[in-house]
């Protein structure tokens, strides 16, 4: 009976959404979004503060926001404050996992699974590759798809690989905590420095350089690397908490 009610409710809600979106003149049909009317038009043209004319990859310099990847420009520059909040969400949930799963844990979780020689060696080789990829993705976030969040997660994934390859491996949790704390504090401090020098929180205080070059976009690569480090250490902490248990 309860299931039936839930079915009716969800069917009704789904029908309501679809029908009212279909009959809605203001809501654009799939694939027909008019970006010219939206705020993102200015993000693409980079003309929020002043009009730079045509933006040419590899030539135009001194833009208000330098990344060639427009999504990065939004995440780490135009709406950087959201990203700070999002990093905080991950921070507080990692902290919550540590609080909930106890702090006095000594022993690795026993899994009915023992890695053989190939797995051990292979994982250690892969560890390096994945770690390098993670760092590369974090650093090149303003040029190519990716950035701090997938980069940081890849760093954490490489740690996970070490956990799986070695029965007794435990990451140095204390070190991760320090890294996490420093990366987070630096993010906020960059914001406050921007407030003091540039007049508003998280303002881009460095020269944005030529669009498309590695050393461009001012503070954005720095912020993205910090995010990568922070996300990586937080998720590694979470994984460590899930993989240990109380015991001698």
């Amino acid at each position: 009976m309860k299931n039936f009610l839930a079915l009716i409710l969800t069917l009704f809600l789904g029908f309501l959404i679809m029908s009212s979106l279909n009959n809605n003149i203001a809501f654009p049909k799939f694939g027909e979004a008019n970006i010219g009317d939206r705020v993102s038009d200015a993000y693409i043209d980079r003309d929020v503060t002043e009009n730079p004319g045509d933006v040419i990859f590899g030539e135009t310099d001194g833009l208000e926001s330098g990344p060639a990847n427009i999504v990065t420009a939004i995440v780490a520059d135009y709406r950087s404050f959201d990203t700070l909040g999002e990093v905080t969400v991950l921070f507080v949930s990692a902290l919550g996992v540590a609080l909930l799963l106890g702090t006095k844990k000594q022993k690795r979780l026993e899994i009915d699974f023992h890695p053989n020689f190939m797995l051990r060696v292979g994982s250690k080789a892969l560890f390096g590759v994945i770690l390098m990829t993670g760092i590369y993705i974090s650093i090149h976030g303003h040029l190519t798809p990716g950035g701090g969040f997938p980069g940081g997660s890849m760093i954490a994934t490489s740690m996970l690989l070490l956990y799986l390859a070695d029965d007794n491996f435990r990451a140095k949790v204390k070190g991760f905590k320090i890294l996490e704390s420093i990366a987070g504090s630096l993010y906020v401090l960059i914001g406050i420095i921007g407030l003091i020098i540039g007049g508003s929180f998280l303002v881009n205080i460095l020269d944005t350089g030529v669009i498309g070059e590695l050393f461009s976009a001012g503070i954005i690569p720095i912020v993205y690397v910090l995010i990568g480090l922070k996300v990586g250490s937080e998720i590694s902490n979470v994984i460590d908490n899930f993989l240990t248990e109380e015991g001698a």
């Binding site: 979004a33 999504v71 991950l90 979470v238």
Partner: protein
Amino acid sequence: MLQYAAIVLIMLGLYGILTQRNVIKIILSLNIMEIGLNLFIISVGYVTDGIAPIMTTNHNTNSLIYVDPLPQALVLTAIVIGVGTTALGLAIAKNIYSKYGTFELDEMEEE
């Protein structure tokens, strides 16, 4: 098409949350709902024949049509928030298990 699939996914997730009585299954349904929501958000910014919002040497004018980059930035935020909630939910689930010895909400004794 994908937009309708996204709405159906949101509703499927909601149905799962309302009917399932297993803690893990409820978190799983939350994840399904979030994936549906993310697809929906991206679909709102999709433009037919638009290109991915990254400037490269091949595309050098402002006259090109990009898909809307703002929903993509929002989804990045939503995905990370989602993983935070999932980790927290699973940690609580683990605690529930060590207290009651089961994941089924109906088998737990009322206090």
